[in-house]
């Protein structure tokens, strides 16, 4: 029960302590104002303390120097000389702020302008600050008593009324200054809040427009720190735009390229249903329709994979890997079918650094390139699979001696569903290179296509996958 109460109290306390203002702009402004006011207060207090301290210590030093001088006179000429010296000083003191008193052992006043020994002064080693009455005025004085020989005692002091006046004026001035500073701080805080709001509003205006569907809006860059946010948002919008374009392009392509096999399957089934005269004929038609539908499924799967890769969310399987054994395996897998197609596969591997990647996706990418090469290379030619370093990047190249591609086709080759005119008669859906391209973007790499074999000048196509290698430092860690 008690514990519960304590906890309740704690909760209440916590709730009470929670800062009530949510607005970031207001908080910034308050923090600014607070810092300003506190620092101004500290600064002005320091000035006050320092100045008044200075004034005090000046008085004390003057009194001590005076007293030392008078003690000297006492030592030289006794009470007579000291009385003369005191009288002398009082006569020359234009400001009328010096206070002296010399009394004998019996308490009789020998010289000085104080009416009598103040009762409060009992100690001879410290300064006293007290109110005294002098020539009918009340005033403040700072005094020090000094012992002399033969039971004589002396008081040296200064009338500090003027100095106190200065202190008052100074205090007033500083308080006013502090009030002004506080007002300035409040104004500054309001200004800061306004600026902050303006900055946020300019971003908010753009993002609101985007939310309304106008993807062409960008946050204007002004050269200040908020550009960091602005740029990030702009980059994000850029990417969203690209993805949206991709989606648009794909839905058009789907409408076109998926309808064809579906329409074909439908026609086959309908036709067989109406006209088939034997069971075999019906079976054959159904088998072909199933094949058409399988093709639709595989196109779907490829499209989904590409979309997934382009969304950039599939880095879970990334690992640091040596690309050579991976390519050796593929080369071994494909060698048989390459030779079966009357071609020759040449595998060359240089010394390469490891890359960070998804082995299955990289296998798929290279397999797609090999599939393409086998599809298009004329019998009797050689397909080269090679891997080497190209500057700071790892380059996997699949080169064939097939018909190659025209410049126009090369630039469009990795678009979804794109098929060069010359490729119309070969099987395929035009998604292989799109997938390769998507795999490369996910890996921060690039797909480069070049027509013609560079060394020999023969026709052909070489596709190069460029992958960033893992920096040597992070590999050790």
């Amino acid at each position: 029960m008690l514990r519960r109460k304590v906890r309740c109290f704690g909760l209440v306390l916590k709730r009470r302590l929670r800062w009530p203002i949510r607005s970031a702009g207001l908080n910034f402004a308050l923090a600014y104002g607070l810092v300003f006011v506190i620092s101004a207060g500290a600064f002005l207090s320091f000035i006050w303390w320092n100045t008044t301290g200075q004034l005090d210590s000046q008085v004390e030093i003057a009194v001590q120097v005076d007293a030392a001088d008078l003690s000297h006179r006492w030592a030289q000429g006794g009470p007579t000389a000291l009385s003369l010296a005191i009288q002398d000083r009082l006569d020359q003191n234009v400001d009328d702020d010096e206070l002296y008193l010399l009394v004998g052992p019996d308490g009789r006043k020998y010289a000085g302008n104080l009416p009598g020994w103040p009762v409060v002064i009992t100690r001879l080693d410290t300064f006293y600050e007290l109110a005294i009455k002098r020539d009918g005025f009340r005033t403040n004085a700072k005094m020090h008593a000094y012992p002399l020989t033969q039971g004589f005692r002396m008081i040296v002091g200064r009338d500090v009324r003027g100095r106190q006046l200065v202190r008052h004026v100074l205090t007033d001035t500083l308080i006013w200054a502090w009030i002004m500073v506080t007002l300035l701080a409040a104004g500054g805080a309001l200004a800061i809040r306004r600026i902050f709001r303006q900055v946020v509003r300019s971003i908010a205006r753009t993002t609101a427009a985007v939310a309304q569907g106008d993807l062409s809006q960008r946050i204007p860059l002004t050269g200040n720190e908020t550009d960091l946010v602005g740029q990030t948002v702009n980059t994000m919008l850029e990417r969203i735009n690209r993805l949206m374009d991709g989606v648009k392009q794909v839905s058009n392509a789907i409408a076109h390229d998926l309808r064809t096999p579906i329409a074909r399957a439908r026609a086959r089934l309908e036709d067989a249903n109406r006209t088939a005269t034997s069971a075999e004929e019906l079976h054959a038609a159904i088998d072909r329709a199933v094949m058409d539908l399988d093709r639709v499924t595989s196109i779907f799967e490829a499209l989904l994979r590409i979309a997934q890769l382009e969304a950039g969310a599939r880095r879970a399987a990334f690992t640091v890997l040596d690309i050579r054994p991976l390519l050796e395996g593929l080369s071994e897998l494909y060698e048989a079918s390459v030779e079966d197609a009357g071609l020759h596969l040449d595998f060359r591997a240089g010394a390469v650094q490891p890359v960070n990647g998804d082995p299955h996706l990289l296998q798929q990418a290279v397999a797609n390139l090999l599939d393409n090469a086998i599809k298009f290379a004329p019998p009797g030619t050689t397909i080269t699979l090679s891997v080497d370093m190209q500057g700071e990047r790892l380059a996997i190249t699949v080169a064939d001696q097939g018909p190659g591609m025209s410049e126009d086709d090369l630039s469009r080759a990795s678009e979804r569903f794109f098929r060069a005119e010359t490729a119309r008669n070969t099987p395929g859906a035009g998604l292989g290179l799109s997938l390769v391209q998507a795999v490369m973007s996910l890996h921060g790499g690039a797909l480069e296509l070049r027509a013609g074999e560079l060394q020999t000048g023969q026709p052909g196509l070489s596709a190069t996958l460029l992958l960033p290698v893992v920096p040597a430092v992070s590999r050790k860690g």
Partner: protein, 226 residues
């Protein structure tokens, strides 16, 4: 084999049920997760085919996790319309033995189910000598003989033949070969597997009068003694 099929779509369920029964298996069915889980834990099956998404609050993964939580090691094949590779990994991590995405060819399903059923039998794992008809394979010395005559095989061909022998009398599909022999999980456009199998045939079948590796149309391959 005794097979449990948990699948909510009536068309797919009827199609699979009919096919499995035609292939000579005894099949129980459930159309929701609750019944499926009840059957899976109370009966003894050789293979369980589980749809991943099921009505009734208990989906395929939950059934699978419950089974594995009870130390029930019945081979489970997951069926799903989710083709995502991560989904596949999630399914296999939860204790699934195989994963197929819809739509699928029945022949592929049958081949995989039969392969899973065989995996459940304990004797195959520790054997060092595999024999089918006059074909023998020694796993220790890595040699293959047919009719007493030695056959020279490349390492990969050896693994391919080993897989076929271990699944002798069963249809194995191209995808199964690609996954199990090569450990590749993608779909090559060209007939890479066919070419490897035909090369293996050159060595294992051609010099002899009776072929053992047969092609099953629309499905894959089978290795048989007769």
């Amino acid at each position: 084999m005794r097979i449990l099929l948990v699948e909510d779509d009536p068309t797919v369920r009827a199609f699979v049920l009919k096919g499995l029964r035609e292939a000579g298996h005894v099949v129980d069915e459930a159309d929701n997760g609750k019944d499926g889980l009840f059957l899976a834990v109370s009966e003894n099956y050789d293979v369980v085919i589980l749809d991943r998404m099921l009505p009734g609050g208990i989906d395929g993964l939950r059934i699978l996790e419950t089974l594995r939580g009870q130390k029930n090691a019945t081979p489970v094949l997951l069926l799903s319309a989710l083709a995502d590779v991560d989904e596949r990994v999630a399914g296999l991590k939860a204790g699934g033995d195989d994963y197929m995405t819809k739509p699928f060819a029945f022949s592929e399903l049958l081949a995989r189910v039969e392969a899973l059923g065989r995996r459940g039998r304990p004797e195959s794992a520790s054997q060092t000598r595999l024999v089918v008809g006059d074909l023998e394979m020694d796993l220790l010395s890595r040699t293959v003989k047919r009719g007493g005559e030695k056959i020279d095989l490349q390492p990969r061909e050896f693994r391919l033949l080993e897989f076929l022998i271990r699944h002798a009398g069963q249809v194995v599909t191209r995808t199964m070969l690609l996954e199990r022999v090569w450990d590749y999980h993608f779909d090559p456009q060209t007939n890479v597997i066919d070419v490897h199998v035909s090369r293996l045939r050159q060595k294992v079948d051609k010099p002899f009068d009776k072929p053992m590796i047969h092609t099953i149309r629309n499905a894959g391959y089978i290795l048989r003694a007769d």
